[in-house]
Symmetry: C2
DNA sequence: CATTATAACTTGTATATACAAGATAGTAAA
DNA sequence: TTTACTATCTTGTATATACAAGTTATAATG
């Protein structure tokens, strides 16, 4: 029961996704929302600017806030979402297999990617994601041990993000993401049901904590026909 | 000479990209910036929250704002950037060829994508993007004529975005983006130097004006080895 | 010496006020 | 009727104040 503007954000976002507000229609005016939520206009505006940022509404000066069509069921939704969180959205036909779980020292390329010392310890996790019985995604994760001390196969089979956020109490904050298309490696051919495809889509993720410390590097390798990335982008002024 | 917080945003962003602020170091405190820019704390905070949103800094409560490594030279930078704007960043070895420029009525699938009536007029533009002499990208653009009345080959060879924003005075605001991998069509094979690749990366863009009206649908079809998408994503709370 | 408390910093949230600027509807004047 | 103005909506920007909450260094205490 805190953070008034986030509560308001959630309530309006839920209403938009739940159909309470029709796409194309207008939200109540800021003044109306002030009265409805019994708060100040600045607080309302904070909530609304978050909604605009995340593609729920479009604000037009002099007119009002237009409700956009913000469906959330698209596949790798933009932003920081883990496979397990995605699988929850999509339904229960997703299975994770842990192929490898080991403590290693980083080689030179990994030292660069993770900004880690050669003698530091890194968790290396290989996971296969099966959807409807087909091995579609091959995830290679590297975590710094200094942040994630204990890692079990059990945790890897579930959501590592959930473990870090809820068990360890660390706040995952932002990531740099890079999408490219590459030729499959031997590993890819072994782990994935490629079905003749001669390319894989590679999503490289550099994931940071709240305090801007880098703690994870992930390579998510997808069979091309099952890959889809959806994004909402605002044109940055100036 | 207006919009104080955007000016401050630009000035700090430029300094970060220009190397005035080192990645990993801390920005001056909000209080210091208030004195430096002779403004109020709220105005400084507006600028800083924009910088955080766009991946320039990370704010940490109690500590300060940490400068992130925000290089801007990566290929299809996240957000709404047109090919011509990108080419400017990359240097001058990019050429655009206009293969088609026609006024059509939308077929049923285009009616859906553009939310356009069957008897409305749509500009169809086909453009080939050459980089270093290789035909790498095939762009299919569809504009609603009601928004963009006159379109010439000359304009298409340059930047249509620039024409719309600076000549027509319309404000392009946001887009929904979708990235998938597909098998090349006959058109792709004709227009692109595919060099044996049996996939193309397809970026579908739905582009909207300031007032939330949809005005453009674009399919950007890339040779897979030359495609790269870079994104900065924040984990949305709650 | 080690621990604890305190003070002084930092950013985060909430509120109030004032005016600017875009949109719209109604009214008055030509 | 048409035009122009005005009043009144809307959101945008800028400022000031107060307190909460996280961090860090210092001083006091055992």
């Amino acid at each position: 029961m805190q953070n008034k503007y986030l509560q308001i954000y959630k309530e309006i976002a839920d209403q938009i996704q739940g159909g309470g507000f029709e796409p194309g229609s207008k939200l109540p005016s800021e003044h109306d929302l002030v009265e409805r939520f019994q708060t100040s206009r600045e607080t309302i505006r904070k909530a609304l600017s978050q909604l605009a940022q995340n593609g729920f509404i479009q604000k037009v000066q002099g007119k009002g806030s237009i409700v956009l069509d913000a469906r959330k069921f698209d596949f790798p939704v933009s932003g920081l979402v883990s496979f397990t969180e995605l699988a929850d959205m999509l339904g229960g036909n997703a299975v994770t297999e842990v192929e490898k779980l080991a403590l290693i020292h980083p080689d030179s390329s990994l030292q660069g990617a993770l900004q880690a010392a050669p003698d530091s310890f890194i968790w290396e996790v290989h996971r296969i994601r099966e959807i409807d019985g087909e091995r579609i995604i091959f995830d290679k994760d590297f975590f710094k041990k200094m942040y994630v001390d204990n890692l079990t196969e059990e945790i890897c089979r579930g959501s590592i993000y959930d473990y870090i956020e809820n068990e360890l109490g660390m706040a995952i904050s932002f990531a740099r993401k890079e999408i490219t298309v590459e030729a499959p490696t031997e590993e890819d051919r072994n782990y994935l049901d490629l079905e003749g495809y001669e390319t894989v889509v590679v999503v490289k993720n550099f994931v940071y904590f709240d305090d801007a410390s880098l703690f994870q590097y992930t390579e998510s390798r997808h069979r091309p026909d099952k890959f889809k990335f959806v994004d909402f982008a605002r044109r940055t002024k100036a």
